[in-house]
Symmetry: C2
């Protein structure tokens, strides 16, 4: 049944920030009698949804949830309260809430009320549960969002031809998978150069080609305020957030457009400032689909947590590479990836992994 709880949590990824996505199932006599997932604010949490939806006798049942039930009064009343009231006898849950307001308190409150807690999970399950809340956790600990880079390149590492053509290097299956990825993030981010050269919509469409509304936010870094009001990124209703160093240059308005003016560093928008603003907006997990310049700056400044490399077995040649100079001189300083996953998408390979942090490097600069 934990599998079902995981799936419920994973379904809501990209939909409920600033809340963590949680899945919950209620079991009685080895039968699933109810299930729930987190609503976006101001709705209910997963545990309360599962309890409320339950049509069978809940007394003495078992609750399985993917994250420690929260124990304080925030936008919603504490889940622990609802669980205790319901008559649930046992709670099975792999991980503590990294939120210092909870972290263990949820479990303690439940134990205090006579509810049995089971936390005997495999490493694999714990990893999966932690992965679901990685954006929430990054935001809590570092006050900046979790950043993933998506890169589509040829096998010789090029993201476009010399004349900047990049449509399409990777296979249709890779591109579809890339769009699905977008929907699992709170926002997708790109630079003004990509807007100008590719004019992307940055949406995720369903099988009938209808816009799903995800990702909920689109972010454009546009230091010189060059964005055009006819850019396709405005064609759908999700909020578009533009960061610039000179707000006055953007002299048009859109219902779905929000503009932030930030500081200027070497002619570019100040990334640290941007990350803090995004975090305050409740945006915890961002997929970056951009070019060499933004990729390079994000990696160089240690903002990147995860990378997705879609590699297509083609040779382009030239110098349009995915990552520019990040200041590495010695092989020992190369950036290593961990928790690698390999996926075949037609002839392409998707290799994804997390950036291995060095002991002496601090994330937030």
């Amino acid at each position: 049944f934990i599998e079902r709880a995981f799936l419920l949590a994973e379904e809501s990824l990209g939909q409920v920030s600033p809340r963590p996505s949680v899945g919950a199932v209620i079991i009685k006599d080895n039968k699933l009698i109810s299930e729930g997932k987190t609503d976006p604010q101001p709705g209910n949490h997963a545990e309360v949804n599962a309890i409320n939806k339950c049509n069978e006798d809940i007394v003495n049942s078992t609750l399985i949830c993917t994250l420690e039930p929260h124990s304080y009064h925030g936008v919603s009343p504490p889940c622990t309260e609802a669980i205790i009231k319901s008559g649930i006898k046992k709670v099975i849950c792999p991980i503590e809430d990294p939120n210092p307001k909870v972290s263990g308190n949820g479990f303690r409150q439940l134990i205090h009320a006579g509810i049995e807690i089971e936390r005997n999970f495999s490493k694999k399950h714990i990893k999966r549960a932690k992965k679901i809340i990685e954006g929430f956790e990054k935001s809590l600990v570092y006050k900046i969002p979790f950043i993933s880079l998506k890169i589509a390149s040829s096998i010789d590492g090029k993201i476009s031809t010399n004349s900047n053509q990049s449509k399409w290097i990777t296979s249709e299956k890779s591109r579809n998978y890339g769009r699905l990825l977008r929907s699992k993030y709170d926002a997708v981010m790109t630079g003004i150069n990509t807007i100008e050269s590719d004019n992307p919509q940055l949406t995720f469409r369903d099988k009938n080609d209808n816009n799903t509304g995800y990702p909920r936010h689109k972010i454009v870094l546009d230091s010189n305020g060059k964005i055009n009001q006819d850019a396709k990124i405005f064609d759908s209703n999700e909020k578009t957030i533009v960061f610039t160093t000179d707000k006055n240059k953007i002299n048009f308005k859109k219902n779905n457009l929000e503009i932030f003016e930030v500081g200027n560093i070497d002619g570019r928008t100040n990334l640290s400032e941007i990350m803090k603003i995004l975090n305050n907006l409740g945006i915890h997990k961002i997929l970056v689909e951009s070019g060499n310049i933004l990729n390079t700056e994000l990696i160089k400044k240690n903002f990147v947590d995860k990378v997705y490399f879609f590699i297509s077995p083609k040779i382009i040649g030239g110098d349009k590479t995915s990552v520019g100079d990040i200041g590495i001189q010695n092989i020992k300083d190369i950036i290593m990836l961990r928790d690698l996953e390999y996926k075949y998408l037609d002839e392409d390979i998707l290799l994804s992994g997390y950036i291995k942090e060095k002991n002496n490097v601090f994330r937030n600069n």
Copy 2:
């Protein structure tokens, strides 16, 4: 039993050029009674070796061989003659010899002598048989060697750091596999820059770290005659062939060194001339382990038949890429690969494939 014949042929790859590598087994009453493989010149061909080594009654037996038996007097007398004399009743063989002196004549001679020929093979078997003789066939048809590029890069397509460090980007398993590959080629080729920066030996050593003597030839392109007599490439006895545009600058001698002076194109050695010389030396299959400049020139001039990309899940950044400008402006002109193979080597991926030829491009320029 065809499997055994293939293995025998594959074992001799890199050892018998200018001959094609062939494996042969003799079967009687569904039992293997003898086997043979091609000797280097002036030894015997595989079929004759199998016949000569046979200690049981060969009359009415079946011969399985990976390539059509040759039918003319060359360094060795025709294999067809030996087969007919031996009393073998049936020959099973997947492909014709592409040599116009044979191509079907071998089978015709055998049929004429009353020997049954079976050529009912799966596509996979035919492909495997053709792969074994790909160097031999390229040399016959185009009068130049079959060229493979070996590239070891980070996932962002870089072959060294900014300060030219490349030891080691890929895993030990990848490097071992790369050295094994060398031994399956008639020669390994590199440029003087790689000699100067990495000082490689370009050998294949056995488990006890003894040199195997393969690849049999090492080739260095050294347009300005900069090679140093202390370079490690001279440390083993295999022949080292240096191509230069100014022979006088190389003022030392080695027993294992042969120097060719070739024409100068834009300050570099004339590749077309080099390919013809190598082909005349009986070198049919070359593995190139070099850097951006030679890789780029070989691809640009359509000399490359196959590529091996060893990709390590690490990020280096910078601009040291594996393939430079090959003149591609439009996505539709990107070089596609076919017959792809994927192999995991620890965390690395080896992606290998053949360059897809375009209809209107001629190989030899």
